[in-house]
């Protein structure tokens, strides 16, 4: 056996022994996600166990170095792990902005001390992070942020307001863009800092969305004291960190387009609409839309994989993340429009046991944010035009 085949056999055996039955199969809704943190909630004790076992092996962040708690796997090994997880339909052990966004930025820009302090507890799901980027006056135009950090010697005093801070009310720490030099050109006076959400002066207020749910918050900073040791990267050069992190965020949001529910969409539709005498979905127009989307989903999954391989081989600009973000977001919106069409009036029930309290409708409405958050689709297209196509004046 090759090393990779041995690794696959060992991984399969470990997963069989350690992945509880309760965490296999599709998630019923977003509520089933495990986020960890200081005050974690779990749907079942098995979900807690699954997070802890995967965290202990470092497999919640399989490609991070083992010295920071990660799995230390090669890309090929990580692919094997993912395919084995898919094979048993295992749910994600830990959802985490720490893993998806902050961690990669810390690996690239953090000090050794920061890496040793923060990364292992991210891997184990012991701390939950939120992102302080957008402000009421600076959404897509992120370089326009106004939150001020005033130098007080060994610390800063931060004042300002953030908005669209996902899960700020549940997060333990925040990674945050603050303006440390108000006189510099707008990209050059920003710094990237970390601080505890329980620091005096930090308050959060949920924003109710059209889905009736509230992952987002407004976040207020009133004379918040931030230690200078918690600066990531160079002072006033936080934009570099932010850009790298945004690339990870975009890839992550884009990847939502590739999350296929357990059952093929055509069969989900057939459950509610029925099939004709030739076993084809009863609604030929919808059948065509679904089949076309399935082709796009399959192609998108391969594009995600290919971009990963290109990045590894250094054959592609980091701006390629904008392509994945743009396409994946739009694809996910299309998918949920089709799921609503396929479910018909059943999915319109906002409050009933039968509809899982409107879970399909709420998920559908949630996807509308995909092409806004993390930079709108239009911003992604601008980035593609400028950085990948070198169009003039873009």
């Amino acid at each position: 056996m090759t090393d990779l085949e041995t690794f696959r056999a060992e991984t399969r055996a470990w997963l069989e022994a350690n992945c509880p039955a309760e965490v296999r199969g599709p998630m019923d809704s977003e509520e089933d996600r495990v986020w960890g943190g200081r005050n974690p909630t779990f749907k079942t004790p098995a979900h807690k166990l699954w997070m802890e076992r995967m965290g202990a092996k470092g497999w919640t962040a399989p490609e991070w170095p083992a010295e920071y708690g990660g799995g230390g796997l090669s890309r090929e090994e990580a692919k094997v792990l993912h395919s084995e997880l898919r094979r048993i339909d295992a749910q994600l052990a830990l959802s985490s902005f720490g893993i998806w966004m902050l961690g990669p930025a810390l690996l690239q820009f953090g000090t050794e001390e920061q890496k040793k302090r923060f990364l292992p507890e991210i891997v184990r799901g012991e701390i939950r992070w939120c992102q302080g980027y957008s402000e009421p006056g600076a959404g897509s135009d992120l370089a326009g942020i106004q939150t001020r950090a005033v130098d007080e010697g060994d610390h800063w005093i931060v004042n300002g307001q953030k908005v669209w801070t996902s899960y700020a009310d549940k997060a333990d720490w925040i990674f945050c863009l603050v303006r440390t030099d108000p006189d510099a050109p707008k990209h050059l006076g920003i710094s990237f800092v970390l601080f505890d959400m329980t620091t005096p002066g930090v308050t959060t207020k949920p924003i109710t969305l059209i889905s009736g749910k509230s992952p987002f918050c407004e976040t207020f900073f009133d004379d918040v004291r931030v230690e200078k040791a918690n600066l990531v990267g160079t002072l006033n050069r936080g934009w570099d960190v932010a850009k790298a992190l945004l690339a990870h965020e975009r890839t992550m949001i884009g990847a939502m387009g590739s999350i296929a529910s357990g059952r093929p969409m055509g069969l989900v539709a057939a459950d509610s609409l029925g099939v004709d005498s030739d076993a084809r979905l009863e609604d030929p127009m919808l059948r065509a839309r679904i089949a076309e989307l399935e082709v796009d989903l399959a192609a998108f999954n391969l594009a995600m994989e290919r971009v990963g391989d290109q990045v590894k081989a250094r054959q592609v600009s980091p701006a390629i993340a904008s392509m994945l973000k743009y396409y994946g977001s739009e694809l996910n919106k299309r998918r949920h429009e089709i799921l609503m069409t396929a479910g018909g009036s059943d999915t319109l029930e906002w409050e009933s046991e039968r509809s899982g309290h409107g879970s399909a409708a709420r998920d559908w409405l949630r996807t509308k944010a995909n092409s806004i958050e993390g930079g709108t689709s239009e911003i992604q297209l601008n980035i593609i035009a400028k950085h990948l196509l070198q169009l003039p004046g873009a």
């Binding site: 076993a279 076309e292 994989e305 297209l381 169009l391």
Partner: protein, 374 residues
Amino acid sequence: MPLILTEEQTMLKEAADGFLSENAPVAHLRALRDSHDADGVSRDLWKAFGEMGFAGVIIPEEHGGSGLGAVEAGVMAEALGRTLTPSPFMGSGVLCASLLAEGGSTEQQGEWLPKIAAGEAILALALDEGPKHRPSAMTARAERSGNGFKLNGAKGFVLDGHIADALIVAAKTDDVTLSLFLVDPKTAGVEIERTVMVDAHNAARVTLTDVQVDADAMVGAIDQGEPLLQKALNLGRACAAAQLNGAGDQAFQITLEYLRTRKQFGKLIGEFQALQHRAAHLFSEIELSRAATLGALQRIDAGVDEKGLSASIAKSKAGRVAELAVQEAVQMHGGVGMTDEFDVGLYMKRVRVLNELFGDAGFHADRLARAQGY
């Protein structure tokens, strides 16, 4: 296997792109078209393809080929799509080479494979019958007669049929199964009519009236043509997807250059956000199409695309994406895009033909739906 070309495959790509842009750029197609060339294809170029090892890319080395795989065939197809070069590559080097290499008798392989690899012979597959690719609706029949078979039927869209040194004909040997026959086009009862196509590439109609062939004309075993045909078609579909990618991307590159240089209202038109966003969207679609195609070619090489679903995904995606690419190309060029003098119209015509070849985007999406059970 990473979803990128290996170093050797990248070298092949550079060699193919370099060879074609030097020896058979779009002007080559125009010259064949405008001179009403009787063959519509350059036999010298096909020989040169043989000398370069391109023609026999999938043919085993013991039969004079390069002994490479689907990814390499796709690399060649994409290069041909980029330069719009008419070539027997798809009919001979992909389809017929695959059928003979997989199912041909020792005699058939010995006679034809080295000639295909050397670029000396042109073979054609006679498969489609109606205006759309529907292999399951085949009506051509082969009935036992004497020591062989008697073939009857009418075929269309036969690539290079008018200049074929040999035809491989698919025909039903009973109500459900089909067989494949190697037919000399000079046999009595074979009529071949060249169909000059919209893209100035080459195809023909072939009618077979009581065409008598010997038993040893059969490629593969009797009633066992289906798996051979499916295998060749899957490779053909993935290569057609690669060719669509080549044509679509080249049209896109020409358009990008235009966006960077053409001025209107005192500005470069590439500065207009309306056009930037459409170009950026198209770029994204092309990336998906490329990934789907390379994924299919790699799966064929790994022997894990037995049902041909990866090839269907690739052909369906590439068809729609290349269509968008050429439509945007003509529209963004404005009036000049409508002129025969400018190349983008040639890409539009070529993409239309490649879209129909071996099943259009809808045919392949339907295939995927059927396979998933809806």
